[in-house]
């Protein structure tokens, strides 16, 4: 009965984030409301420290630790870095918004950090158990973040819906995992993959388990027909929390799909390919068509998320390394655009006023030309207009789907993105060609207006020079999935 102490080095960044989150929880108790910015600063420092640890301790090999439950590879490190970046940007964007709405509390930061810890665990999971626990850590933190604004009936309703549907999805996922366990006799992803390759376990049971797992994943990604929570949660949650839900967790969800489908159930690729095709087609159609009818921009962006997730599936369903890396590029590009678009809503909101209707964007060009230009770039990118990053993201997933032989799917996706362009361009029309309804000055903090400039410029720069990021994605997928 000997016990080897697990190698803690690969999991150092997780340990650091956990310690800092607990520390902030304690420190915050002793802070007066005036000194609350210390919690904020500590949270940002945590992200910085975690990034430093991930860079300095990351290796290019695939390292397993904690008895094969934790994996450190290039894909994990890269996705984690992007997660830190997204969370940090989200905090900068939402600082003044949450200050004005009495959400600038220690709990907010602690829950954000715990949610991020859940994402990191998911990104680095090599065992069904850790995948599930990471997902629950993330989801529970998100439910409570949505409910944090407890005097708002809308937020409470959104949290309730999110919680009930999320619990249902977790149940489906667990049921699927238990069936896979029944068929292969292991919960460890590499062993499951080996057992399937070896031909162990009945195909029927595996297929049954797969259906449940894909349904659970679809819930978490928010693709049709498991998308109904997205519009309500996006609209009901405080915009800062919507920004959070819409950005970093998508990276974790991508990692989740990769670990489960591409690594664990790779042997069943023909089975899940079909399911993903159906979901991708439905998501792109319903997401884009429903978004046209929305007047609330948060709701519109929610439907746009659904359609983007449909595009994301295009790369994954091709089942090739090239497809995975283009999906990775897509998710990173999407997070960048999502940060920018929700960040803009936060920038235009002020005390007692939420810029959440499309009409609130009328005449933005006359009120603040630079912001209007940034939003123009982000909307062009969402619609997939060159030379923005969204164009290359769409192009690469379409190429992947085409090389997998799905010509009809590519044609359909292009048609849908043309329809989708309508509602993105409508915002640009409102900003540039309509008279403003609201002449109130736009007050903005220097840090968040600097960030929106960076964000918009990044959308443009990555569109002009997509090669470095694309090469990085391809490299990390190649290094991790062998």
């Amino acid at each position: 009965m000997t016990f080897v102490t697990p190698n803690l080095i690969p999991a150092l960044s997780e340990i650091f984030v956990l310690i800092m989150a607990s520390l902030i929880l304690v420190v915050d108790v002793f802070l007066s409301n005036r000194n609350r910015y210390i919690s904020y600063a500590l949270t940002q420092l945590t992200l910085l420290g975690a990034a430093w640890i991930t860079i300095s301790s990351g290796s290019t090999d695939v390292v397993y630790t904690f008895n094969g439950m934790f994996v450190g590879d290039v894909m994990a490190n890269m996705l984690k870095m992007m997660t830190y970046l997204a969370v940090s940007a989200m905090l900068v964007y939402s600082r003044s918004y949450i200050q004005l709405r009495n959400l600038f509390t220690g709990e907010f930061f602690v829950l954000v950090l715990f949610a991020m810890l859940g994402m990191m665990v998911m990104i680095s999971a090599s065992h069904f158990l850790t995948l599930y626990l990471g997902l629950e850590l993330l989801s529970l933190s998100l439910y409570s973040l949505v409910a944090l604004q407890r005097d708002s009936a809308q937020a409470t309703e959104a949290a309730m819906k999110y919680f009930v549907l999320g619990a249902l999805a977790s149940g489906l996922l667990l049921y699927g995992m238990s069936m896979i366990y029944g068929a292969t006799g292991s919960l460890e992803i590499s062993k499951v993959a080996a057992a399937i390759q070896h031909g162990d376990g009945g195909r029927t049971v595996l297929a049954f388990g797969l259906v449940f797992i894909v349904a659970g994943l679809a819930f978490k990604l928010g693709v049709v027909p498991f998308h109904m929570w997205i519009p309500d949660v996006y609209q009901g949650a405080p915009t800062a929390v919507t920004l959070f839900i819409g950005s970093a967790p998508k990276i974790a969800a991508f990692a989740f799909v990769m670990r489960l489908l591409a690594e664990g159930l790779n042997g069943l690729v023909h089975d899940w390919q079909g399911m993903l095709i159906i979901m991708a087609v439905l998501s792109m159609a319903i997401g884009n068509l429903a978004a046209i009818a929305q007047t609330n921009i948060k709701r519109m962006l929610a439907y746009s998320t659904i359609s983007h997730m449909g595009f994301l599936l295009l790369g994954i369903l091709s089942g090739t390394l090239n497809g995975y890396s283009s999906s990775m590029f897509y998710v990173l590009a999407y997070v960048l655009m999502s940060l920018g678009s929700f960040g803009m809503i936060l920038l235009l909101s002020r005390k007692g006023f939420e810029a959440e209707n499309l009409d609130d964007f009328k005449g933005l060009n006359q009120r603040k030309p630079w912001y209007a230009f940034m939003l123009l770039l982000i909307m062009f990118s969402m619609a997939g207009v060159p030379p923005t990053v969204g164009f290359y993201a769409k192009l690469s997933v379409l190429q992947a789907a085409l090389s997998a032989g799905y010509l009809w799917l590519v044609v359909f996706a292009v048609l849908m993105s043309v329809i989708g362009a309508f509602y993105y361009l409508r915002i640009i029309k409102l900003m540039y060609f309509d008279a403003p309804l609201d002449q109130a000055p736009i007050e903005s903090q220097p840090d968040s207006s600097m960030l929106i400039s960076l964000n918009g410029m990044a959308v443009l720069a990555l569109g002009i020079l997509p090669q470095p990021l694309m090469a990085l994605c391809a490299y990390s997928i190649q290094k991790s999935l062998l």
């Binding site: 956990l18 008895n67 709990e107 715990f114 850790t130 529970l140 409910a147 407890r150």
Partner: protein, 200 residues
């Protein structure tokens, strides 16, 4: 048929009966009590498998804490049973379909071709302690998920407090610590006044 098998079938019959009654009992309190019975016989089955720690935990946590809480809630809520039973017949086809589907799936898992899961459990050696084995696994091989579960509980505490704790100002509540520190001067005011009314 040896004695153990006899005990197994005895407990399993009660478990199935109790499980069925949980769903079919007319009164929610009865249903909750049948659930207690189901848990208890389930714990008995675990004891048969030499998993004594799990059996005791099931009794302590589920029967002792969770179900008592459940019963309290059911008793306090004064549920309208007739109204709750309204949807029973209309939902029955769907529920039956899902139930049958799950039964098929479970039988599929148990009869995977070329592989039997849950081979006959064999008895352990005399010195075997299930509790010790479980503890060893949790704190060595499964230490990472164990810690994660702890973090999830921490999040639950933080979230529950953040969402429900309200500091209301101006409520007229008593503070015993402050009350016992009262001094004579706080309560008694000596007013010097003449013994008789003046100027009458």
């Amino acid at each position: 048929m040896n004695f153990e098998l006899l005990v197994f079938y005895f407990l399993a019959t009660i478990l199935l009966f109790a499980g069925l009654r949980v769903v079919t009992a007319r009164h929610p309190v009865h249903a909750a009590l049948y659930l207690v019975l189901a848990f208890f016989t389930g714990a008995g089955l675990w004891l048969l498998l030499e998993a004594e720690f799990l059996a005791i935990t099931l009794v302590l946590v589920y029967i002792g804490a969770v179900m008592v809480l459940f019963l309290f809630v059911v008793m306090m809520m004064n549920l309208n049973i007739e109204k709750m039973r309204d949807g029973f017949w209309s939902n029955l086809p769907l529920a039956a379909f899902v139930g049958i589907l799950m039964a098929i799936e479970m039988s599929l898992v148990l009869t995977v071709a070329g592989r039997t899961i849950g081979s006959d459990p064999h008895a352990h050696a005399a010195g075997y302690s299930n509790t010790k084995e479980l503890g060893r696994l949790i704190y060595t091989d499964y230490v990472y998920p164990f810690e994660l579960a702890a973090v999830i509980l921490l999040v639950a505490i933080v979230a529950a407090i953040a969402i429900t704790l309200r500091r209301r100002t101006g409520t007229k509540h008593q503070d015993p610590a402050w009350q016992v520190r009262v001094k004579r001067d706080d309560r008694v005011r000596l007013v010097s006044m003449p013994a008789e009314k003046e100027g009458d």
